[in-house]
Assembly symmetry: C2
């Protein structure tokens, strides 16, 4: 996706790699040019030259986090069968990504959303847009499952995804703030329950991730 045309582009990737780690834990405002320069071993001005402003740096960090998110969760799900199987795979990937150590601060986008939802501007717009895309992806897969007869066609995909997404975010909250490691089990139970109720029982081979 990103062209590595010149030598500078390589170091830019290295910068962003560290930047996304800091930002996930301390926030996109807490990510400071001076701090980032120290962490990368560069000079403030040398680093700053790669981005025209702090806002551009923040946007670049967001896109870097998106790359990781897509690589870790969305891409692997493309291999699986469409419908409820892929939906399960996406949700399972989401939980594993939050539970694991992909980002120090849990879900990058949940943190960024909370930080910027009250600050209008390009950064907030980008976060909102990407979050919307993620929800839309889950909804589209729900509709696929409905067309395949795996999920009750009478259900509202928006409502179902609202609930599934809520469980994922809640587990992130509980884990980050309360150190509640059982939150992921709770989320898996809730998701499995939710999908079982929504299911028509038409799924032939339940070879996806096993919950409960």
């Amino acid at each position: 996706m990103v062209k590595i045309s010149h030598r500078g582009a390589q170091t830019k990737l290295e910068i962003l790699d560290i930047a996304v780690d800091i930002a996930s834990a301390e926030g996109l405002e807490g990510l400071t040019i001076g701090r980032l320069a120290k962490e990368t071993g560069m000079s403030k001005s040398g680093l700053f030259g790669h981005f025209g402003s702090k806002e551009d740096l923040q946007l670049a960090v967001i896109d870097t986090a998106l790359d990781i998110f897509v690589t870790r969760i969305v891409e692997p799900a493309r291999d699986t069968e469409r419908g409820i199987t892929r939906l399960r795979k996406l949700l399972d990937g989401w939980l594993a990504y939050v539970e694991g150590t992909v980002f120090r601060g849990g879900c990058f986008f949940a943190a960024a959303a909370a930080e910027f939802d009250g600050r209008p501007g390009p950064v907030r717009d980008r976060i909102a847009h990407l979050s919307g895309q993620w929800v839309s992806l889950l909804e589209e897969e729900t509709r696929q499952a409905q067309r395949r007869g795996e999920i009750d066609a009478g259900l509202d995909p928006g409502q179902l995804v609202f609930e599934l997404h809520a469980f994922a975010q809640e587990s992130n909250w509980a884990h980050q703030l309360m150190d509640a490691s059982d939150a992921f089990d709770r989320a898996r139970i809730a998701m499995a329950d939710c999908l079982r109720r929504a299911s028509t029982g038409a799924q032939t081979t339940p070879e996806g991730p096993q919950w409960i």
Copy 2:
């Protein structure tokens, strides 16, 4: 709860009233001494004298937000019958508080949690403690409902509250970031569904808040 002994205590309340409004929208770090002084019309040092440090200011802001939370949600629920009725009242109050304009930035504690969950210290500890108390309150009321035979005694209160709390937080997220005003309807539907499944049907007079 807070004694208004001297004249200074009154201005301190006025300061915190404005501070909690700023912090809810811009965060507890975004709440700056200089900014707060300008907003209150005081001098930086005059304002600073009321708190010994920025951290103490942040803690005072949290306690002020707690007062509002308790007054708005917890206190009114004390009038209602215990068990599922009070549980419904608490959840309904929660949603109304997030939906309304109590805090500019939606749920104060959700925002504060996301901001400080990666920064160890007294502020994080206080937020985590209060959030834990809120969850415990919901769980305790669930257990009451179980003792009264309103909710299936075989259910895990922790699991039930996890799901209910998830819906509330998700609606806050959707509303703040995506301007999705239908998120509250979604949350009410999900909560009503959740409680109906958990219910034994033993509740006599459903005169609480009506969902769906």
